[in-house]
Structures are given as C-alpha cells and as structure tokens.
C-alpha cells in the first residue's frame, strides 16, 4: 500500500498502526514485557491554572520587599526546613518534601493569554496557522497505550487552545470527563440514555455491523475502515464495568471527597487520582480564575488558593499513600506569573519573565527549590529555566525520547522539544 503524505495517507498510516494493536490475548513473553513496561511507565497529572498564578503569592514569597510588592500575605514554614510558601497553602506545606519548585521559569511576552497558554501547554512557541500538541497528547501518541480506559482524559473545562492533540489530530485530544463536583455527575455519553438498556445497545450495534459489513463489500475506501478502532474503544468503554466505575465518583468514600474539598478543583484532582489508578496515563485538570488583574488578594484568599491547596496537598498525600507517587508526574503550572507591583485595582498583571512551576512524583526529587528570582520576584537571578527546558524535563520524566519528531498531515516535521535541556537537578 502506498504511503501518501497528504491527509489521506496519514490516516491510513494511523489505521495500520491501530489496526494491528488488537485487544486480544497476549502471549506469555509479551505479558511479562508488558508488566515490566507497566513498572517503568510514568503517568502524568497536569494541573493547569488558567490565567497565570502569582509567584510571589504562592511559592516565591518576598516578605522583605516593600508593601506594594510583597502584597498582603505572609509566608509559612513547610515540612522542609528552609522552604516557605504562602500562608494560604498549609496543606501544600505538609507535602513539601515531595514537591520540587522551579522558581526561575522564564517565558517570553506573547501578548495574549491564548498564545502563552498554547506555549506552556505544548512547550512550543505558537504559530498562526497550526496547533501544536499538548504534553499529554505527545506522550500518549509516543507510547500508544492500549486498554479499556482512554489513555488521556481531561477533567473540568479546558481553557484557551493548546490543550489538545493539535496537528496530531483529535484522536489525541483528551477524553473530556466534565465536572466531578456536579450533583449527579455523569461523564457525557458514557451511560446509555433513559429507556435504552445495555442489551438494546448491543442489539443496535449488531444491526449497525450488518449494515456496515454489507457496505464494506461495496467500497474498500480505507477512510471508512478507519472507523473501527475508535468505535471499538467506545463500545469497550460502554460495556466495561471497570470504565464505568472509574468515572463514578460515588465509589469514593465521602470522607475522602471531603478531604480533597467539595470544590471543582478538589473533586477534579480526586478524579485525576482515580483515573491514574485505573490505568489512564495522562490527565489534564483545568482550573480557571487566576487572571487577577483586580482584587488579586481577595480572589486568592476566598476563591483560588484554599481549594487548590486543599486538593493539591491531598492529591500528593493520597498518591503517596497508595504507592502511586513514584509513577505519577504531577505538574502545577500556568501560562505566566504576575507583576511584582500591585496595580491600582489591588491586582497583578501578566508577568512572563519569571514565575514558578511545581513538580512532584514521577522521578522528581522533592523537597527542593531550583533557581531563584530577585528580591521582587521580577527577574530570574539564578538558573534560568526556559519553557523548552521545562518541556524537556517533563518528557524525560515520562520516558519520551527528546529527539522525537512528529509530522503534520502535509509531512512537515515538528520536533517535540526545540532545544530545551532537562533540569537534571530536579530529577532523581
């Protein structure tokens, strides 16, 4: 079969690859290899704080700075001597020994949330006429995970572009799981609608297969045949107890749900833990509201930090307790930081020059701070980390070859990392 480099060809290549990875039984050597792979495979939980969290009100406090810079909050100690965080992050403070904070991340001013979001969610500077792929998408494409659970899931609502498969196509978009904090939470389209039993779903599938089989005899267009893998996956999910249970928040004890916090981000992070436990390899959790141009301190105090802190701290603790922390890379990140000077609306504006990113789990050496900023948290003074370096670090932890090149539908080669170097001090 010829391999066309246009859109048609790309899909057929994918078809060949997907078609060959069947869902049937594996031989014993394959099983053993698969188990070994499991031990080595790290999962990703990518916690995206849309809007850009303020570094000096979270991980990079500057208590010695003048009032109009240091803001309203004071630092508190953590369980790592010498490391302090904002007083509104007490739960995170108890997990500090597992967290590594990169304080010297430095990006470029791209002029908009949209462009910066695309940059930080993909690790690649955005261009006008195409979308690059998010870290999770690149990761699951590289590893080609198979199983009943979708390999990449998104929890809560994605914000701006950059969160999906981009030019890799929508098959590498995260499966959207919605808001687990909702009353009567259900994942869209995972359960049959009212009045339709699973038996009927099965019967419908049979009738459909008869129609499509008759049609295949008429037309061998590969484009049509490519329906099968995604459709197979969908039915596997519908008929799988395991999948339905994984997305069922009622399976979690109420006390644990309370411990994470009955908030969107709290329940979202709990869902992330559930998903990773059930075999999902990448989870993106989106939290909005961080673009505090006005009332920065009020928002942080009442809406943003308490729910995040509770959920995030609990996530680390929960992962550790279940023995999942070593095999799960957790990243807490936004598209940029915020201005050292508080503005006239008691807010902070965009600040890409210097900001913090928190890492935990997955081969990360916790309990340390890497890099530093000046006394106003304005400029990086030590160990600058570019977005590309960050990208290299994430992919190294996930076991993705940094030299990987993916191709657009027109055959244009796109490197996943453009010259970044992993921050080895952060890695075990």
């Amino acid at each position: 079969m010829s391999l066309h480099t246009d859109c048609d060809g790309r899909r057929r290549r994918d078809f060949l690859k997907l078609g060959m990875c069947g869902l049937g039984a594996m031989s014993l050597p394959e099983l053993v290899r698969a188990q070994q792979q499991k031990k080595k495979d790290t999962s990703l939980i990518f916690v995206w704080l849309a809007g850009g969290p303020p570094q000096m009100d979270t991980y990079d406090m500057k208590p010695g700075a003048p009032a109009e810079i240091r803001g309203e909050f004071k630092p508190i100690s953590t369980n790592v001597s010498g490391i302090q965080v904002c007083e509104l992050m007490p739960k995170t403070a108890t997990a500090m020994d597992k967290i590594c904070v990169l304080r010297s991340v430095t990006s470029v001013d791209l002029g908009s949330h949209e462009r910066s979001s695309r940059y930080l969610q993909t690790g690649v500077l955005p261009v006008p006429n195409m979308d690059f792929a998010s870290f999770g998408s690149v990761f699951v494409k590289e590893k080609q995970f198979k199983g009943d659970m979708p390999p990449f899931v998104g929890v809560l609502k994605p914000v701006e572009r950059g969160w999906g498969g981009g030019f890799l196509g929508p098959n590498y978009d995260p499966f959207l799981a919605g808001d687990p904090n909702e009353k009567n939470y259900r994942v869209r389209d995972l359960l049959p609608p009212m009045g339709v039993s699973l038996d009927r779903i099965g019967r419908r599938r049979q009738i459909l297969q008869e129609f499509n089989a008759a049609w295949r005899a008429v037309d061998t267009e590969a484009k049509l045949n490519s329906y099968d893998p995604a459709v197979e996956q969908a039915y596997n999910m519908v008929f799988s107890e395991k999948v339905l249970k994984a997305f069922d928040m009622d399976q979690e004890p109420g006390k644990l749900r309370d411990a994470y916090g009955r908030t969107q981000i709290g329940q979202g992070l709990l869902m992330a833990r559930r998903l990773v436990e059930s075999g999902v390899k990448a989870v993106s959790v989106w939290m909005g509201g961080w673009d505090t141009h006005a009332k920065n301190f009020e928002s942080l105090k009442t809406k943003l930090l308490p729910p995040l802190d509770q959920g995030f701290g609990m996530l680390i603790e929960d992962l550790a307790q279940r023995g999942l922390l070593d095999s799960t890379l957790v990243v807490q990140i936004g598209e940029f930081g915020r201005t050292p000077h508080v503005n006239k609306d008691a807010g902070r504006d965009h600040w890409p020059k210097a900001f913090s990113v928190a890492l935990a789990g997955g081969g990360i050496k916790g309990g340390q701070l890497i890099g530093a900023t000046d006394k106003h948290a304005a400029e990086v003074t030590e160990r600058p980390i570019t977005v590309e370096d960050l990208s290299a670090t994430v992919f190294t932890s996930l076991g993705v070859d940094l030299h990987r090149v993916n191709h657009t539908p027109e055959g244009r080669p796109i490197a996943i990392v453009n010259g970044g170097k992993p921050v080895t001090e952060a890695l075990v």
């Binding site: 010829s2 196509g169 389209d189 009738i207």
Partner: protein, 724 residues
Amino acid sequence: MHALSWQLLLATIAAVCPAWAQSADTTARRWSFPTHIAPILTFGGCNQSACHGSPVGKNGFKLSLYASDPESDHKVLVSKRVNLAAPDESLLLKKPTMQVPHGGGPRFKKDSQNFATLQAWIRAGAPYGDKDAPALIRIEVSPGYRVLSAKGEAIQLKVDAIFSDGKREDVTGLSVFSSNDDGVIKVSASGRATAEGGTGDAAVLVRYAGKFAAPVYGATMLKRSTNTIAPAAAATHPIDREVYGKLNQFHIAPSELSTDEEFHRRAYLDLTGTLPSAADVRQFLASNAPGKRMLLVDQLLEKPEYADLQTLVWADRLRSDVRFHRVGGVRSYYRWLKEEFLVNRPLDGFARALLSATGPSFTNGAANYWGNYDKISTPIETAIQTGQVFLGVRISCAQCHNHPFEKWTQNDFYSLAAVFSQVVEFGTKQTQEFDLRIEPTRAVINPATKRAAEPRYFGGDVIDLAPGEDRRPAFAKWLTAPENPFFARAMANQIWRHMMGRGLVQPVDDFRETNPPTHPALLDLLARELASHKFDQKHLIRFIAASRAYQHSTRSNQTNALDFKYYSRAYPKRMMAEVYMDAIAQVTNLENKFANWSEARRAVQLPDNRYNAYFLDVFERSNRLVICDREENVTVSQALHFVNSPDVQAKLASPDSRLARWIAAGKSDAEILDELFLATLSRHPAAQEKDRLLTRISQAKDRKELLEDVLWAILNSREFIFNH
C-alpha cells in the same frame, strides 16, 4: 597532507568526476562559494532546519536555511569554522568527520569527494569567489516524465546547473533529492529513482545551491488492458479526456457510472447540503427524461439551499467567527454571503467586493473580511488570509524567512502586506462594530530592510497610483483579471475539491512548485473554463457534473481500489457536521431550534460557529481558527455520542417523528422499511437486507423499539454518513 596523497586525491577526483578534473590544479580554479561549497553543506544536511539552519542555529553556529543566503553563510564560516593559517584544523573539516565531538554526528567521510573539495577550498583561502563569475540561473533535471512499469525498476536522474554564460555543469553528485511519495517512487541520495510498488505519480524535489526543481515521475504495477484503453478512447468531455488520459498511463480502469440512486443523493448533498425526500427519489427513479441527471443539477442549483451551503463553505474559508466578528458581524457576513450566492454573483465580482469593502461591519457583511476583535486586522494578517483564500498560496512562512521550497521571499510577503497597510480603524469601540477608512500614507516596515515595504501585485510590479488612492481596488482588479495566474486556478481548484472530494492541488491553499497539481492540464482547463464564462461558479459546477469523472460510482474494481488521487472512482466524502445534524432532523422530521438565531432553521444556516451544540463539536465543525479542510477523523467521543446521546435518542423515540407517524398510521413492516430507506439512504432496500430486517422485526418483543433501533443503525451507518 603529503604531496603523494594529494596527487592520489586529485586522481580520485578526476576519476570520479571528470568536470572537476578539467581544472586539475584545484588551487587555481575559479572558486564560487555559492555554487561549489554551499551545495556541499546542503548535501551534508548542515543547513537543515533541525541543525544549523534552524532560526537560532546550533551550538552558536548559524547558517541560512538550505543555503538561501550564501553571502552571510560565507562570512559566518570564515569567522567561526575555517582556519586559514592551518586549514586541516578548521572545524569545518574536523566536526563533520567526527575528529572532534559533533552533535550532528558524522556527515562526510574523510576520503570523500566532498571533504576533499572543502579542504581544497580552505587551502585556496576560502574565497567567496569572483562576483563577476557566471551566476547560477536554474537547474534542469532529466529525463523527462515517464512511467516506470515494475517494482524495482529505476532511472538515474541527472541534474544540470545552467549558468548565465550559457554553460551547463553536471551537478548530480551534489544535489539533494527527496520524493513526496516514497511508496510510489523512492529516490536515493545519488539521484536514483526507483519504483517502490505503488501506482501513481510522485514529485521528486531536487535541490542544488539554493535552486530547486520538482520533476514528476510515475509508476504503475498494472498491465495494459482493454479496460483502460477503451474508456479513454471514447471520452468526449474535456475533463474525461484529461482524467482518462492519466488513468491510461497507469493502466487503471475507471469504475462504472453511479446508479441513479447514487447520483441523485450525491447531487443533492454536493449542491444543497440536504437529502432528497422519499418522493424526490421515487420521482427521479421513475423518470425517463433524457438528460435527467443534468436537469436535476440545474434544478438543485436554483434552490435556496444551494446558496446556504455555499455560504457555509465560504464562511469556513473566510473564517467568519462570532468571537472575532461578534454576533452582529457574523449575522451580516452570512446575510451578505447568502445574497451573493442567491444572485449567483460572478466570483471575480465577489472577490472585488470583499477586497474593496467599506464598513461598518454590522451593516456591510463584506467589511468583516477586514477585521477581528472589533478592530482592523493587521496588514500581516490580511496578507496571510488573502494569500490563502484568493491566491491559493500559504505565504506565512515567508514572514520570517525566505520560503525553503518556493520562490516567495520575505520581500514578497511584506510587499503583499503593504498593499493593505492603508486600512485603519474608524469609529468608536463601544458597539463592538468596526468601521474602516483609508490612511493613505501608512506603511508596513519590512524587518529585513528596516524600511517601508513597497506595495506590489503579488509576484509582480509595484502598485503605482495617485497619492492618497486606496490600493485595494487596484489589487482586486489585478487579482481578478482573467489572465491572473493565481485567482482562476485557486477558485477552480476549490470548486473541483468541493465536487470531487480532493483538489487537483491539495491542500487547496497550498499551490507550490514543489506541490504540483495531479493533472496540470486539467487545472488549466478548469481555470480557463471559469475565466472565460465570467467566473460563473454555477457554470463550472455544471461543467464538472456533466463529466463521467464526477459521475463514477464509488465502487472499486480490480485495478482502482487504491487510487486516491486520479478520479478513477468517486471518493466518498463525509457529511459536514452541520449537514449531518440537518440530515437527522430532516429524516426524523424534527427541526432543530437555535436559541437567539431565528434566521437559522437548519444548522447549515447558523452564523454562530460557536453555538453550543456538542454534536457539531464532536463531528468536527470547522473551528475557523485556521483555514484548512475539515478533517474526517473518527474519534471515541463521536462514537460514544451516537451510542449514548440523549438528544439522538429523543429524536428517535419522539412521538412526533416521522417513524412514529408511520407506525401510528398502521403501515406494515415492509412499507415502513421502504419509506425509511428512501428517506435516509435514498434507495429501496435490497431483497436480502429487507428479509433480514423483516425477520428481526417480526421476532422483536417491542416492534416500535426495534424500528427505532433500525433507524439508529442507519443514521450511524457509513452509507448514511458518507456522501457516495
């Protein structure tokens, strides 16, 4: 290096490359950096985008991409990588041979001709060369087009460099080769092109010293037969002569013609974005009118649904977006577009109206071409958009560097942007509406020259008007002149793509020398047909619809199952999300309602491209953030949506649906099946499938539920979702 081995080297060079040996004393030859050394760097991969040709270079050493700027490269090399006092210590020699660590690995062997040339050049003082030396004009590749006829058959390509003094030089050994379809033709580093087992044409991209060529070669694994020759000989329609002529070269036999059922449904979907009703199908099948297919086409072109569908297609291309143009803007844009297609405005007038539009944007729909987010788009944005929509050229790469495989330079890019630099905002921001005026002296700075870019007709002369004049109408007039090399072809290609499922140039906005049309003569023919008939889109649609190529069945035969480019069979096209949503509504007779958009009774008519409708998202309505063809991916989310969506189920089970009415009216199982098939698949059920389904119905505990399940299956089936 010792004298003896030096002579051996010369002898080796002389033996391998006679042209070089002509000047046996290499120190005295007339060196030319651009033609002798730069190609070696390209050949060795030094200046590719992954290495030193990247925008930031590599390891502090930056070359221009594929040697597009030899003067700058020479300066960089001499200052950083060449040691004139001790030539053999030059990093240019030591790095690519791994005598010192090199991130790029080994690129040349020490005993290779290329290494020897580099060495000799450095020893000669690393000159740039005589600025009066004859310049390289172009390269020519031979042999010409031919079709290889067995797997493994190969031809050796020869590349000649043509200089300004008329001299030719064989530069095959330093040219870089690649194929755009390795499955058909694979080309080795030495220029040997081999048939790999696929059937079709492949363009071989050949690069040397900043020049390139893209000769096309073909291969076929099929044998000559009467099945291929006969149709070609009998073809009367000009399109078929071209299509069948090409198929003949590959010995691909075309499929038979589509059945009346297939043609009928296809024409409805292609021209109106709607399905025929059961009554329409019965009438068409029963008719014996001569030329009934073309009569049908004429009828469909006159329906208002034709204008609705064209509005959607163009709104995608123009990226009408409720975030950028606001509710008022997309409303007026759609109103304007629909009117244009209702009156069948010639495409040249259509383009001129958009390109010369004045605001305000909520009143004059065409003005929305010029703005986004309540302000005027930058000249750069407008240049990129105009390039893709009307010129068929993706020039955005040229914003930052000269296009690697195309003649468009950064200067061309900024000269196009300069055409639009006069357009500025006018009016207040309060209402979200924008208006525009001309600021005659406003310019665009070309970052390469740091001066104002001269506005030019794309690839042509400077636009020279009276001071203060709006350049846009002059540009639009140039663009839409019948002899303009871009417009007619770009428009014809888009119309062809809509009808046939694939552009002759694909992607449709990516005309490039290195992305040649599959049928160059056919493309020219279509462009001429359009231009010579007042750019009447309906005329070209009729012209295409009348051909056998359009009317082929999608059913493949033994020779053409793997043809995806040469129109030996019709290519199935998945319904657009909006069309699919409307088709379900049409079949169940349950109209969709769109809150706040009373002008839209069907999804195709909905100006709000971000209207909250999960169905449309999941079936990939265009996001209009980039201009590109809608993809036809199948995703888990789509499959799940159809399996479990409550909305779909509601339509199926509704007591007001057509199915419910048939049941309530007491129709028999057979009657219902017949009506169902006619309404959805636009055909009667075949005997076998009818029997199978009748058996199921008779055995079902709940007849109504089973019929709903059959309808569900049909709506989800390939035969329904695809336009075939």
